[in-house]
């Protein structure tokens, strides 16, 4: 009876549902395109723990060989991996030509942006460099009191608050933060990793200030407090509060 009911429910539904999910995959980071050298090293590595690599899906990382003018032979690389019992899933990193060749070899091209960012974190801050040719986003300006529980986020730009930031409120920016009022809540500048971001404030009574992930909490011994104009910067990995 129950089976019938379930079948009836299933009948009404679609054949499948497409869902996104995250998996942990082994990454084969290539330093060379020499297929025979790769093959030899794989054989050695697998010999150490054959069970671990049995039918293991791998992603080929091309970041280190992206500049190589010779195009990698993905078809023979993939077959070598399969011969060793590995399942090549796709590639990440690398240039457009490499992506095209990989696709022809039946490999998926996975998002490589994250891999690049991890390798070269300093690239993230180039948003503000004029040489990039990309204009910085317009500064976000909020003209009101930011109440407890409210969160103002300026993605990829500076943030100006013309008003007071209450206790329990948060103001967050990838760039600098200016507050023309009292900062009683939390201010987090340079959240994308810009260590040169600065928080400017007219009157400071903050719960917490943070720049590029480094933070300082208000403590009795070291209060974050000032009645005068201050700028909060990151120097040698430490949050500094100076009069300005």
């Amino acid at each position: 009876m129950q089976d019938m009911m379930e079948a009836a429910v299933l009948d009404k539904k679609e054949a499948f549902q497409l869902k996104g999910s995250l998996f942990t995959l082994s990454v084969l980071q290539l330093y060379t395109q020499d297929v025979s050298a790769i093959s030899a090293q794989i054989a050695q590595t697998i010999a150490k723990s054959p069970k671990f690599f049995h039918h293991a899906p791998v992603v080929i990382d091309l970041a280190q060989i992206a500049e190589d003018p010779v195009l990698c032979d993905f078809i023979s690389l993939a077959s070598i991996l399969r011969n060793h019992g590995l399942i090549p899933v796709g590639v990440r990193g690398g240039g457009a030509n490499q992506h095209q060749a990989a696709e022809q070899a039946g490999l998926a091209v996975l998002a490589g942006a994250k891999a690049n960012a991890m390798l070269k974190p300093q690239q993230k801050t180039t948003l503000f460099k004029e040489s990039e040719g990309m204009p910085p986003k317009k500064t976000k300006i909020i003209r009101s009191t930011i109440r407890s529980g409210q969160q103002i986020i300026a993605e990829g730009s500076d943030l100006i608050i013309v008003g007071t930031v209450s206790n329990g409120a948060e103001v967050i920016a990838d760039g600098n933060i200016h507050i023309y009022g009292i900062l009683r809540g939390r201010a987090l500048a340079g959240t994308a990793g810009d260590t040169s971001a600065i928080i400017f404030c007219r009157h400071l009574q903050a719960e917490m200030v943070s720049i590029a992930g480094r933070y300082r909490l208000h403590e009795e011994a070291a209060p974050i407090k000032s009645q005068e104009n201050v700028c909060i910067t990151l120097a040698d990995g430490r949050i500094c509060i100076d009069l300005c």
Binding site: I146, R147, S148, G149, G168, R184
Partner: protein
């Protein structure tokens, strides 16, 4: 069209229902046709404070579910003409209210009344958000202590972002601050936040200050809105609040600590006398 006023606070027990009852009664005493709607479904209190709990037949949830008409559910106050109460349900919870249902009820009330007072439940969840959603004006009730002030700040943030006016980009809800249970003597002793502290944090126009008074508890227990007691400091302060809301200019009273003279020390003050009775 009626003006919809929500009485809200975030924190519980600060005097929302007392204020709704006193403020609504005050408006009616001045000749404005007023209804007070209890949004605290499941914790029905307004009818107790108004002294009409025995006359509740239908409630807000019945009206929202179209099981009763607004006219059937409303209770006419026996003391004050122009004053009506729409009680909450005691047996249901806040999920029984729908946005569409509340909108329909408020629209219907708007055609008959000058003022609709929405007595909000505590918290920031569905019940409180429904009570404030359609409001034109808000009275934020705050006690002079840190947690109450913090919660009021939170509510002011929600008023500015989650109301119908905010969502449709209309003129924002008019915000009024009402500080209740204020004791100038305790402020002077440093035991209570001062009016200045509260205003510094909340930065909202002060509508009034209700002094801590034993007459409030007595009025609640007796089911008589405290504004009807013109001998009580709290009652007088509420009358000032109504006058100010209607645009009159009145100085704030009962905000300074009066040092008692010899004669006053020998003879009891008005409030102490009431309390002793």
């Amino acid at each position: 069209m009626a003006k919809i006023i929500v009485v809200t606070s975030g924190k519980g027990g600060v005097g929302k229902t007392t204020t709704s009852a006193a403020f609504g009664t005050g408006l009616a005493l001045r000749g404005h046709k007023t209804v007070i709607v209890d949004f605290d479904v499941g914790l029905r209190n307004l009818d107790l404070i108004m002294g009409c709990e025995r006359r509740v037949v239908y409630d807000l949830v019945n009206v929202v579910n179209q099981e009763a008409t607004v006219t059937q559910a409303m209770i006419k106050d026996k003391r004050v003409p122009n004053l009506y109460i729409l009680p909450a349900s005691q047996t249901r919870d806040k999920d029984a209210l729908t946005k569409e249902g509340v909108e329909r009820v408020l629209k219907e009330l708007s055609q008959q009344f000058d003022y609709i007072i929405c007595d909000s439940p505590a918290g920031i969840e569905r019940g409180a958000q429904l009570a404030m959603y359609f409001a034109d004006s808000a009275i934020v009730v705050t006690n002079p202590e840190v947690s109450s002030v913090r919660d009021s700040d939170r509510i002011l943030g929600i008023l500015a972002s989650k109301s119908k006016r905010a969502e449709q980009g209309d003129t924002p809800i008019e915000e009024h601050l009402l500080v209740t249970r204020y004791s100038p003597e305790r402020v002077e002793r440093g035991e209570m936040l001062s009016l200045q502290d509260v205003q510094d944090i909340l930065r909202v126009k002060l509508l009034g200050v209700i002094p801590e008074s034993k007459s409030v508890l007595q009025a609640s227990n007796a089911g008589v809105p405290v504004i009807m007691n013109d001998k009580s400091e709290a009652g007088i302060a509420y009358a000032d609040v109504v006058a100010r809301f209607l645009g009159e200019k009145r100085p704030h009273r009962f905000t300074q600590h009066k040092r008692k003279g010899l004669l006053q020390r020998l003879f009891k003050t008005r409030d102490e006398e009431e309390a002793a009775l």
